[in-house]
């Protein structure tokens, strides 16, 4: 087999893996702190893509420059979701909140369908879109490379936030024992709201970059949601570093498995891996 193709497979697998990680990290953060699986995560991704697209189409702001705006918008969408959807349900079983996010996902998707329409929207002339560079016969997609770089930065940023800051300590304390954290004077509601906001902001970064190489349409989030759940479970629920590595692993499995075993089996391989891992290690690869 041609060595160039083999190396290209690894590069492509890593690059798409970083994108998967970027989408999954926010989901993992929310789960880790709140024990809530946000089913509307894919729709948050879609909203981020639409925000980026409309800033480009209506105001001419390149997706790269509008990324901070998208992140802020998504932060408020996340925080708002907590305040108006999750918070009123906190006293009840977790299943209620889970179903609420599921309902929210359907609501968001159909509202976008109703107000924006089902059309595919494509950005093809941005700073990043369609750009590639080649080193020694190996091709690198510029938007995916930037996404990879930002994925590393975001994951590292979350790591620093959780381990080195006062807020991070409060967040971890809330995650470990909400009641005791409250007794220690931590405003746990505030912590939850910010966590939801940061989780959504992370997927905002992903959406703001994904718009450079993916069509924008109301159903786009669904394509990634299931993979994001698998990645979070594989990495170990709530373990952000685990989600980061699991995303890369899934990227490599889909690309290498798709090439060597058959493209039609690449998602089967991911789910097979998931089944094997949770059977052997129910807490996921990096869970505790």
């Amino acid at each position: 087999m041609d060595l160039t193709i083999f190396l290209q497979l690894i590069i492509s697998g890593l690059l798409i893996g970083f994108v998967f990680s970027l989408i999954a990290v926010g989901l993992s953060l929310i789960w880790g702190v709140m024990d809530i699986l946000n089913f509307a995560h894919g729709e948050f991704l879609m909203l981020a893509m639409f925000t980026s697209f409309f800033l480009f189409a209506q105001l001419g702001i390149d997706p790269l420059y509008s990324l901070p705006i998208v992140v802020i918008v998504l932060y408020f969408i996340g925080a708002g979701t907590y305040r108006f959807v999750i918070k009123p349900l906190l006293g009840y079983t977790v299943l209620i909140a889970l179903l609420a996010t599921f309902g929210l996902s359907i609501l968001i998707r159909n509202l976008v369908l109703f107000f924006v329409g089902p059309n595919y929207r494509v950005i093809n002339e941005s700073i990043l879109a369609g750009k590639t560079f080649s080193i020694g016969g190996l091709y690198f997609s510029v938007p995916q490379s930037v996404a990879a770089l930002l994925c590393i930065l975001v994951t590292y940023g979350i790591y620093l936030l959780l381990t080195k800051s006062k807020f991070g300590r409060a967040l971890r304390a809330t995650s470990l024992d909400k009641d005791t954290a409250m007794l220690m004077g931590i405003n746990t509601n505030r912590i939850f709201e910010i966590t939801f906001g940061i989780g959504a902001a992370c997927v905002g970064v992903a959406g703001g970059l994904l718009v450079n190489f993916y069509a924008v349409f109301p159903e786009v989030g669904l394509n990634f949601t299931v993979l994001a759940f698998v990645i979070v479970a594989l990495g170990g629920f709530g373990n952000n570093g685990g989600a980061f590595l699991a995303g890369i692993l899934v990227g490599l499995v889909t690309t290498m498995g798709g090439f060597f075993i058959g493209p039609e089996y690449k998602y089967t391989l991911v789910f097979l891996l998931y089944l094997v891992v949770i059977t052997i290690r129910p807490k996921g690869l990096f869970g505790w």
Partner: protein, 413 residues
């Protein structure tokens, strides 16, 4: 005062109990399409074109070569107007089946037209066949649909068979011109549409006596999130020609992946699907320059048939886009329905079915003479042409009879 109050109440009651419309003056057609879900965009475009076709049939436009455009409604049925009722399949075979059952239970529609995907047309038409109710398929392309021995199923669009035959006639022409076309890679979604398209291609390669060689067979899952592995499989095979059976979202991913991964080839041909979505050409710019595909309508057809401009303008006013092959097939389909209603002895399912079977409709909307169904229900007066994307527009490049511009050979990232 009291008297006028009584009269007013009497009038209100009369109006209240009157039927909402004069039902006898309308013939209802049920349209079964994906209006929400991942294919809502395609469903929306198709809905727009049916609305245009309904307008042309129900009102007087007098467009040359388009029957029923001068009259208003269906002449032999007391100028009854066509009424369209939309049913949403959500792109799902199960939902499509349930909606078909609902249409039949409601008992208002005289005919069902649908569905976008072959994988939905297949089970829904089983339901209508079982209930002896006519099903007119506009755009689903799997040739297998008309190979099931059904009596109530008719299809207007060309099939994978027609497209594959056209592709290989085209490649034969290119080969005779000394161009390399031997090594073929086939990329297809693993659905009814893709699998059947693959079979049609394989059949021709196997029967070519070594003139063509299948160097890569690349199936993939519908709703893919990335296609790097698939694109690299194609790249590793070094094909002269890539043939696609893909819908829009994945077709776009492939085009970008080919560019990102430096895939070079002489020609990229597409069965109907994502390639025909006008957003593919206008949205992806240079990335898809030179891509080719089957086509029953391109805007430059208007250069050959000027009367189509009126229809294109009406459609463009609704969608902001030019008509494409799929939209024109759908447009034509409603005229097939109108023609069948016009000739049917009554509007019972059996009579409409018999009228459809006897269709010989000459209509100047697409290449070919119009619509005549073979015994299996397939339109045998249809023809397909090859279009190519040039400067974000679809141009017909083959056969010579329809071509408005020559073929550009070779794709480089």
């Amino acid at each position: 005062m009291k008297k006028s109050l009584l009269v007013a109440i009497g009038l209100l009651l009369t109006l209240g109990f009157a039927p909402a419309g004069n039902a006898a003056d309308e013939i209802e057609v049920a349209l079964l399409y994906p209006l929400t879900g991942p294919l809502a965009e395609a469903g929306g475009r198709i809905k727009a074109v049916y609305d245009v076709a309904q307008d042309v049939i129900n009102n007087s436009y007098d467009i040359q070569g388009i029957p029923f455009s001068k009259t208003q409604g269906i002449p032999n049925k007391g100028n009854a107007k066509i009424k369209l009722s939309y049913y949403d399949t959500q792109g799902s075979p199960e939902v499509g089946k349930a909606e078909t059952e609902r249409i039949l239970q409601e008992g208002k529609a005289k005919l069902i037209i649908g569905a976008y995907q072959s994988s939905v047309s297949k089970p829904t038409s089983f339901v209508t066949e079982r209930n002896k109710f006519p099903f007119l398929c506009a755009v689903s392309s799997s040739a297998a649909l008309t190979e099931r021995g059904m009596k109530y199923f008719f299809r207007v669009a060309p099939t994978d068979f027609h497209d594959a035959r056209m592709f290989f006639n085209f490649l034969e022409d290119m080969r005779e011109d000394g161009r390399d076309v031997k090594r073929i890679a086939m990329v297809y979604e693993k659905t009814e549409f893709g699998i059947h398209a693959m079979k049609e291609v394989k059949k021709r390669i196997d029967g070519s006596g070594g003139v063509y060689e299948l160097v890569a067979e690349v199936p993939y899952e519908y709703k893919a999130t990335d296609v790097n592995a698939e694109a690299l499989k194609v790249k590793a095979a070094k094909p002269d020609v890539i043939i696609h059976a893909s819908l829009f979202s994945e077709m776009m991913l492939f085009a970008k992946a080919y560019k990102n991964l430096g895939v070079t080839t002489n020609a990229n041909l597409s069965f109907c699907g994502g390639y025909q979505n006008p957003k593919f050409a206008s949205g992806l710019g240079d990335t898809v320059e030179g891509y080719m595909g089957s086509c029953t309508f391109a805007a430059d057809f208007i250069e050959k048939k000027a009367q189509l401009k009126t229809i294109n303008d009406m459609y463009k006013a609704k969608t902001g886009m030019n008509l494409d092959g799929i939209s024109m097939e759908a447009f034509t389909t409603l005229f097939v329905a109108a023609d069948a209603f016009n000739r049917a002895k009554d509007l019972s399912p059996e009579a409409v079915r018999d009228a459809l079977a006897a269709t010989e409709l000459e209509i100047a909307t697409m290449p070919g003479k119009g619509v005549k169904f073979a015994e299996n229900g397939q339109n045998i007066w249809i023809a397909s042409t090859m279009s190519q994307i040039k400067n974000t527009e679809y141009k017909v490049v083959w056969p010579e009879e329809w071509a408005t511009t020559p073929v550009t050979w070779g794709l480089r990232p």
